[in-house]
Amino acid sequence: MKKSSLLDLLVLVIRRDLVLAMRRRADVLTTLIFFVMVVSLFPLGVGPEMAMLRKMAAGVLWVAALLSSMLSLGRLFSADYLDGTLEQMMLAPQSLSMLVLGKMVAHWMVSGLPLVLMAPVLGLQFDMSVEALGVLILGLLLGSPVLSMIGAIGAALTLGLRGGGVLLSLLVLPLTIPVLIFGTGAVEAISSGLDITSHLSFLGALLLLALVFTPWVTAQALRISME
């Protein structure tokens, strides 16, 4: 297969999934609203002292992003699985890994990117400084695709199972801990005047690793689940 046709395939899958997502806008919005709500609950729970809120802002935003991305993962394959599209995709002569990568990218654009765009507003509620906000956004931009990609493995493994949603979180959350650590670490570093490149480099490395391995692993998981 030519290189360009693989790219065409990728673009095709992304466009298809985006169109489908735009037809069901409520799904996208609920994830975003969940994110905003979880973040807004924290000050109510721990008290309104600004100094404390500023200190925990990055952690709260990251954990909330982690939880909201879990919420939308169940939908990654389930609709295609239920109406038989997934079976056709697996029968297609094109690389399943590439199809899966397309679905991951589309999923991130629908459920990860809105969170990244929403994060600065919520960060202002926590009185974060501008530099800290910038680093937070940068970290989220690098880290949230990893969440979608690792999550896709879990989504493929739990496809069509009873109680898949909770199980999915149980499987995926421990694997996402490094992303959480480096994402919040970067913000912590800039707040205390340290260098942030190491944290962001690690996030970038995780992104690259995930980009290389997770589509293939997810494709294997789909084969296991569909046989």
Binding site: L167, L171, F182, E188, A221, I224, S225
Partner: protein, 245 residues
């Protein structure tokens, strides 16, 4: 003389072998554990810095070591089952998982008991504690995924993939947690630099061997049950003396 190395890789033959091996492993585990406890409580001297509290390491350290090794062994068996489609390997992986989770739990529990008098807190967000906790989560994920899939073949393969992904992630998680910890608190409490007393070493290593033997015995018992459950419709099971009764 040609030896058939794969003779015991079939559940049919392994079932009998496991039955014969279990008493040996079980009894020697009990004897060694008794010896280790004796050395640990009566022979090993009181620690100069930690007093009597340190004695919990005689179970804590073996449990921690086993919880980590068992995960690797479990992932190895799972990978064998996934690649070569050998039924017994997947069954072994399933049989090891609860024992590994148990050891991870014991390790955390005894660590908390040790931490209260030594650190003054039941729990510290220490790098080792945190990664042990995450390891327990990984075990629980494996068990939960396996339990929620009805078709045993699919359950084996899905759980195997999860175990492999988990084992690739373990070093990344460990180092990131370690780094995270050093970022947050400058100094962590470490074991004192003094070398261990010989009796302490003996007690710990004897207990380590006892734990290994226990883990093997229990895994074999569990794999026998799994074989009986999965192969219940075959003739060789119905001809077993313990089933015929």
């Amino acid at each position: 003389m040609a030896i058939n190395w794969f003779k015991y890789s079939a559940p049919t033959t392994f079932y009998g072998l496991a039955g014969k091996l279990i008493p040996w492993f079980g009894v020697s585990a009990a004897i060694l554990a008794a010896i280790a406890l004796y050395i640990g409580f009566y022979v090993a001297p009181t620690d100069a810095i930690q007093g009597e509290f340190y004695r919990i390491i005689f179970i804590h350290v073996p449990a921690s070591i086993l919880s980590m090794f068992l995960y690797l062994i479990m992932a190895g068996y799972a990978a064998l089952g996934l690649i070569f489609k050998t039924r017994l390997s997947s069954m072994m992986a399933t049989a090891i998982a609860p024992t590994g989770a148990l050891f991870a739990f014991i390790s955390l529990w005894t660590g908390a008991l040790w931490g209260k008098p030594m650190w003054g807190a039941w729990w510290m967000w220490d790098a080792r504690l945190t990664s042990e906790l995450i390891l327990l989560f990984l075990y629980l994920g494996f068990i939960a995924l396996h339990a929620s899939i009805d078709d045993p073949r699919r359950a084996d393969r899905a759980a195997a993939l999860l175990a492999i992904v988990g084992s690739v992630n373990v070093p990344i998680i460990y180092f990131s947690v370690k780094w995270w910890n050093t970022l947050h608190q400058g100094s962590t409490i470490k074991f004192s630099g003094t070398s261990m007393h010989v009796a302490m070493q003996q007690a710990m290593f004897t207990m380590l061997v006892a734990c290994w033997l226990y883990a093997i015995a229990v895994a074999l018992m569990r794999v026998r049950s799994i074989i009986l459950e999965r192969e219940r419709n075959t003739t060789w099971i119905s001809e077993l003396p313990e089933v015929k009764l």
